[in-house]
């Protein structure tokens, strides 16, 4: 780096203030050019559709009489929103995802944390193998994972169901409870490994002096691991929880695929499925837009709460 620091020392050339101002203006121009591709695409493919959807949510579409004349669009004010809050199916879709998150997220984060702590403990051999083995499902497309597990949930094909029923249990994909567990297990299988890698990397970054200080204080290995290490990476855990909530709420492809066998999963099982169904199967465009906005607001509020909560935990 000696060459650079030499340049650095030569750096502030005796420029006039006006010249420096022009330099700053030039940088703003360069920044704008670098940012433009993203923001133009972001505007066209996110902001404009958002505004458009917002507008649509105040209208209702009705077919005007016989067939092909097109649709009549009427301003209905907040009717779509009122209707959504009285729609049992829409509310139930939130309930389903809520129960699913309650089963899935704490389990997954806890497993990922334990595995990362174990990998980080000094006694483990073949660390690279385990990390890779845990990570592999994360690469599998969600839809294909759903296909694999669909067969692993099917009595008559699945070795798992056989093993389970040989212990005297009864496996019933048509019950609500097994629907939630099927989806949660699928998500745990898919996403735990990514978070193990994430937490493990965060643990590696914990300064060793901090750990040594804790050991001298007399904290045992297990206590050190949980009380101190977990606390030190609470930032990484918070981010993981946030993104997991946002992702889990948007559950779509997996339950859609499972509807073919698991009758407990209806075509409006999750908010995303509800919104999709309203738009593309019932052509209820305005209503779909309104429900989508309610859904987005819920995600926004939850994310905000999750960030607040982790900040507090870190403080």
């Amino acid at each position: 780096m000696s060459a650079t620091s030499q340049h650095g020392r030569l750096a502030p050339p005796p420029t006039a203030p006006g010249n420096r101002g022009r330099g700053r203006k030039r940088i703003v121009g360069v920044a704008a050019a670098f940012l433009a591709p993203f923001f133009v695409l972001f505007l066209i493919f996110t902001i404009v559709p958002l505004i458009y959807a917002f507008g649509l949510s105040f209208f209702s579409e009705k077919s005007s009489g016989l067939g092909f004349e097109g649709k009549e669009r009427n301003f209905v004010g907040l009717d779509n929103f009122v209707r959504a809050f009285q729609d049992d199916k829409f509310l139930a879709s939130f309930g389903n995802v809520f129960v699913y998150c309650l089963v899935y997220i704490p389990t997954m984060i806890l497993i990922a944390l334990i595995l990362a702590l174990l990998l980080d403990s000094l006694v483990v051999r073949a660390r690279g193998f385990f990390r890779l083995a845990f990570y592999v499902p994360n690469i599998v497309p969600g839809l294909i994972a759903a296909i694999i597990w669909l067969y692993l949930y099917t009595p008559g094909i699945s070795p798992l169901v056989q093993a389970f029923e040989s212990t005297g249990g009864k496996w019933d994909l048509t019950s609500q409870l097994s629907a939630v567990f099927s989806l949660a297990n699928l998500a745990i299988w898919l996403h735990t490994g990514y978070n193990v890698v994430l937490f493990y990397a965060a643990l590696q970054a914990v300064p060793r002096e901090v750990l040594e200080a804790a050991t001298i204080d007399g904290a045992g290995a297990v206590r050190t691991a949980f009380a101190i290490k977990a606390r030190l990476i609470s930032g990484a855990i918070g981010v993981a929880v946030l993104f997991t909530i946002v992702g889990a709420m948007q559950l779509f492809a997996e339950p859609l695929l499972l509807t073919s066998r698991a009758t407990a999963i209806s075509s409006t099982y999750t908010p995303n499925m509800f919104i999709y169904q309203a738009a593309f199967e019932r052509n209820d465009i305005g209503y779909s837009a309104a429900t989508a906005f309610i859904f987005a607001t819920v995600i926004g509020v939850l994310s905000w709460a999750a960030t607040r909560f982790t900040r507090k935990a870190q403080a």
């Binding site: 650095g8 670098f34 958002l50 969600g142 070795p159 206590r223 999709y276 593309f280 859904f295 926004g300």
Partner: protein
Amino acid sequence: MPGTRDGALGRSPLLSRLAVHIVLIVFALYTLLPLTWLLIATTKNTADLFGTPGFSFARFSLGDNLVRLFTVDDGIYARWLGNTFVYAIVGAAASVIVSFLAGYAFDKFEFPGKERWFASVLIGVLVPAAVTTMPLYLLASATGIVNTFWGVFLPSIASPFGVYLARIFSNSYVPNEVIEAARIDGARELKIFTSIVLPLMRPGVVTLFLMAFSGIWNGFFLPLVMLTDTALYPVALGLYTWNGQAVADPSMAAVVITGSLIAMLPVIGLFLGLQRFWQAGIGTGAVK
């Protein structure tokens, strides 16, 4: 005196080592066994798939399954694979360039309202696809890009999460002094970006490319909405359609299972091949 330290790991090193390894092995079995089942299932014909135990081999029919996979529906599966490659490679490359241009600008350039612009990117991360997909479909219908390559390709380029990560990567891999030095040497900003900054951020570039690639490869919602022509389907959407047919026609099950395995191989191959880079890349994301 390790023997007197309290805590299980200190007290009984051999036993605790064993316990730690058992836990890790059990979880590795959980992650790997379903894939093993898939591997074995692809070697069975329909009768054996439904009639023999999941983890035992039967008459080896992988060849037959592959032939069927690539001939069913006039061999449309190869077309789906090709489509997915094009969507994923072109889309991921475009997405990475756009993300790094923006992420680098956010990290290294000073301009008015910078953090406010960045906040808008972060809010973009939270916008659920469900809200934008339906209006996107309507807009795409109005402009005629619905049911075309562009309808799937264009909306998948701008990734707020990609910009967020790119800023972190730029911050951790690119020292300010290097840019200063290049500027003093009279290099132009775009030249600095392409010949100095991008090579420095290589692990980040690889990580983002892989994330974008697998995101598009696995993408389902957007193609489901945008495409009606099966000849334009990506492989995930195609398999979904076939899986629906398998309920009525069990012989499609073997095709769906074999198709699932083949569809996974490119992504897994890419990840294994570039392991060195993305493991470093994910690490950077976690530490910041």
